[in-house]
Amino acid sequence: NAGVTQTPKFRVLKTGQSMTLLCAQDMNHEYMYWYRQDPGMGLRLIHYSVGEGTTAKGEVPDGYNVSRLKKQNFLLGLESAAPSQTSVYFCASSYGSGGLRDTQYFGPGTRLTVL
């Protein structure tokens, strides 16, 4: 099993450009999450999904959109990138619903720089 994979690993954008980050998981998890990690800030939740076709806002959703058209994929979009969105983005997934099913598994991250 590959676990959680993220594409691309690195990306540099100019202000105003758009891009989509792809997350894929092969563990048949229901729940998927997008976090951003900034120096000294820990990880903060951007958006999450509890199943195919559903999405919800997290702590820092502004400037991002997400879609979950297939159970195994969770896409994060930036419509008009801003320098404040320079960060490392992590996708995670879990079975959900309590107990060991709450364990979240993280991907390797995407380092995004917006100039």
């Binding site: 959680v4 729940y31 999450y33 976090y35 000294g40 800030m41 820990g42 990880l43 903060r44 939740l45 999450y48 509890v50 919800a56 997290g58 702590e59 992590f90 995670a92 959900g96 619903s97 309590g98 107990g99 099913r101 709450d102 364990t103 979240q104 598994y105 993280f106 991907g107 390797p108 991250g109």
Partner: protein, 113 residues
């Protein structure tokens, strides 16, 4: 409002010593408390997790101590090794809920040989 406060921000421990990282939370609805380990350039990986029905959980050299009344929990790394040098994050969530994890800001741990 930071719901999970982690300390210290950085920690240097001699090889063979005990590393202790502390976290405090505010939301009494939290009932799942994991610790993650992150190496440079990698994603966080689950180290150990605890639920508030127990006061301590041990896995190898790693122990979580949990104090529900004080709303605090801590990670102890016994016989710390240079390979333990990493950033450690505590986190919390409402168990079974769809909400994501609320993370502390992290502790950069260095184990000196």
């Amino acid at each position: 409002q930071q719901q999970v406060k982690q300390s210290p921000q950085s920690l240097i421990v001699q090889k063979g010593g005990i590393s202790i990282i502390n976290c405090a939370y505010e939301n009494t609805a939290f009932d799942y408390f994991p610790w993650y380990q992150q190496f440079p350039g990698k994603g966080p990986a689950l180290l150990i997790a605890i639920r508030p029905d127990v006061s301590e959980k041990k896995e190898g050299r790693f122990t979580i101590s949990f104090n529900k009344s004080a709303k605090q929990f801590s990670l102890h790394i016994m016989d710390s090794q240079p390979g333990d040098s990493a950033t450690y994050f505590c986190a919390a969530k409402v168990g079974g809920g769809a909400d994501g994890l609320t993370f502390g800001k992290g502790t950069h741990l260095i184990i000196q040989p």
